[in-house]
């Protein structure tokens, strides 16, 4: 009976729901990468990476009394193609909510107002920034030996200075946090390396820039600990077949291992 009464004050949805129309995948869709990529990369090639740890802490203070206590414990600057990210890690320090068993890891992810070329971002934290903060926490926390830090908290503050491809930016943020955590001397099981891919036509394309991501039908992000051989986070948007997912996980972990090698090599050289 109740279904017959129509509420005229609201805008009512359709009576029947239908499956969304996915864009045609496979051979039918035009392959945007038929003639290679705009920057002439191979399809499974990550953009060139630049890392530097300690850029925010080790500034020689000419005039002010810079105390190492007020500065961050560890910092990192990360570039991947046009993506530029900085991260500051504070802690382990006494937490507000103290958990006697294990420490807590909190992450604060922000875009700079000028980070996206296509739109100006508000300085107020948006819903997507909160969501990405959570993704980063979940992706990085399994690598940290939190049980070694009872009652303490570790905070990571990530600022995106320039973004180029949403999934790629999240992946870059994970790599940047890993480097900053290592710089802070925080105990970890392994460094987390992350990599993203987009599905264009029937092929997976690694580390999509924004125009490539716009052309892709589906995106996949994997955070992976190569030393321990464990995946800490998978994020997928869009629809794939099980075979495609399988292939994506394989290629993504391979690329993560390569990114990991770059991070490790940098960390080792920075200590020499």
């Amino acid at each position: 009976m109740a279904t017959n009464i129509i509420d005229r004050r609201r805008i009512n949805g359709p009576q029947r729901s239908v499956e969304p129309l996915y864009a045609q995948s496979g051979a039918a869709a035009a392959d945007p990468f038929a003639r290679g990529r705009a920057d002439e990369r191979a399809l499974d090639q990550v953009r060139p990476i630049f890392i530097k740890t300690g850029p925010l802490a080790a500034q020689p203070a000419e005039h002010e009394a810079l105390s190492s206590a007020s500065a961050a414990s560890g910092t990192a600057f990360y570039e991947q193609g046009k993506i530029r990210i900085s991260c500051a890690v504070y802690g382990p320090r006494q937490g507000r909510r103290s958990n006697a068993r294990a420490g807590s890891f909190d992450c604060d992810f922000r875009y700079a107002p000028f980070a996206c070329s296509w739109k100006r971002r508000s300085h107020v934290r948006g819903a997507d920034e909160k969501e990405i903060s959570l993704i980063l926490e979940h992706a990085v926390a399994p690598a940290i030996r939190l049980e070694a830090y009872p009652k303490a908290c570790i905070d990571a503050f990530v600022t995106v200075i320039e973004s180029d491809g949403k999934a790629a930016t999240i992946a870059a943020a994970i790599n940047c946090i890993s480097a900053a955590l290592a710089d802070a001397g925080i105990e970890m099981y392994d460094s987390v390396a992350a990599c993203s891919m987009g599905l264009a036509g029937a092929r997976w394309v690694a580390d999509c820039a924004q125009p490539e991501e716009d052309a892709a039908l589906c995106s996949m992000l994997i955070a992976y600990m190569p030393g321990a051989d464990e995946i800490t986070y998978i994020l997928q948007h869009g629809k794939t077949t099980p075979e495609q997912t399988d292939q994506a996980v394989q290629t993504c972990t391979d690329m993560c291992a390569r990114v990991y090698a770059v991070i490790c090599r940098y960390l080792q050289s920075s200590l020499e």
């Binding site: 190492s68 009652k151 710089d183 001397g185 105990e187 460094s191």
Partner: protein
């Protein structure tokens, strides 16, 4: 790619640079030290740093680390909170230290149990933001440090300036309270907090036992101020160039710095020049 040796010879276990998660050794003869964790028989590193081996103990030392306290350490801390019968103290560690009301000296060195009225006037002893010179008495069950100030030389810090340095640069030694030849007192807290202050003789401190919790500075002349600033800048400079901070190295840095104005010490070229001459002198002294 980093080399993951599964069967390293004992000799090359040490002095290798590792990143988190890299396997150090799978030889079951070794014991796990700081900065490592084990899975099965294999020992992995959990920080980025240099592998060190002492007999059978393998540990990884990272460049930066927080202070981890040991009983008997002399430290400088900052009061962050006044709680029930205790103060919480920031000691540059993983969690705040605790200074119990029962482990401080009363003004005038009176010996008695702390009463409820003492509890009500806790802020007259130490308030938030005060710096305290203390010793680590024991650990709590959760690993927090319990401090005490039950000696005439410990207590509230006045008449000076605060410098924070890397905790691993301050080695543990017999004394941490030094009076430098330039007439400046320095407290080298093992936790990396350092207090540089005007020299006040021990006799005067004892005579003023009633005022150990005073918040008022004694009169400080311009010359004393400059000496304090110079020593503080010397400590800052040693920290920046990663030189061990001991009484000797601070005295050397002070003597080398006399050719420059105190305010210029932290400019990049002067700092580098001074640190090199300090290191040369330290090396000369050691040989």
């Amino acid at each position: 790619m980093m080399d993951i040796d599964t069967e390293p010879v004992a000799a090359d276990v040490a002095a290798r640079i590792v990143t988190p998660g890299s396997a150090i050794t799978s030889d079951p003869a070794f014991m796990r030290g700081h900065g490592t964790f084990g899975e099965g028989a294999t020992i992995y590193s959990s920080v980025a740093g240099v592998v060190e081996r002492i007999n059978k103990l393998v540990s990884v030392r990272s460049l930066k680390q927080r202070y981890s306290g040991e009983i008997g350490d002399i430290i400088v801390g900052r009061i962050t909170e006044v709680a029930a019968k205790r103060w919480r103290v920031d000691v540059n560690s993983r969690q705040d230290g605790v200074l119990l009301l029962s482990s401080i000296n009363l003004p005038g060195g009176i010996q008695r149990r702390k009463s409820e009225s003492d509890e009500l006037q806790m802020r007259s002893f130490f308030a938030e933001g005060d710096l305290v010179f203390a010793e680590v008495q024991s650990y709590f069950a959760d690993g927090a440090l319990s401090l005490h100030t039950r000696s005439i030389q410990y207590g509230k810090l006045r008449n000076g300036t605060f410098v924070a340095v890397f905790p691993q640069l301050v080695p543990r030694s017999r004394t941490h309270f030094h009076t430098l030849p330039c007439g400046v007192d320095i407290v080298l807290g093992v936790n990396g907090y350092i207090w540089v202050s005007k020299h006040v003789s021990a006799a005067k401190v004892e005579a003023n036992a009633e005022h150990i919790y005073s918040d008022r500075n004694e009169p400080i002349s311009d010359a004393e101020r400059e000496a304090i600033a110079r020593v503080a800048n010397c400590v800052q400079l040693l920290n920046r160039l990663y030189v061990k901070i001991t009484e000797t190295s601070v005295i050397f840095a002070y003597e080398e710095s006399l050719g420059h104005a105190a305010k210029d010490l932290l400019s990049q070229d002067v700092a580098a020049e001074l640190a090199h001459s300090v290191m040369a002198r330290l090396k000369q002294q050691a040989s």
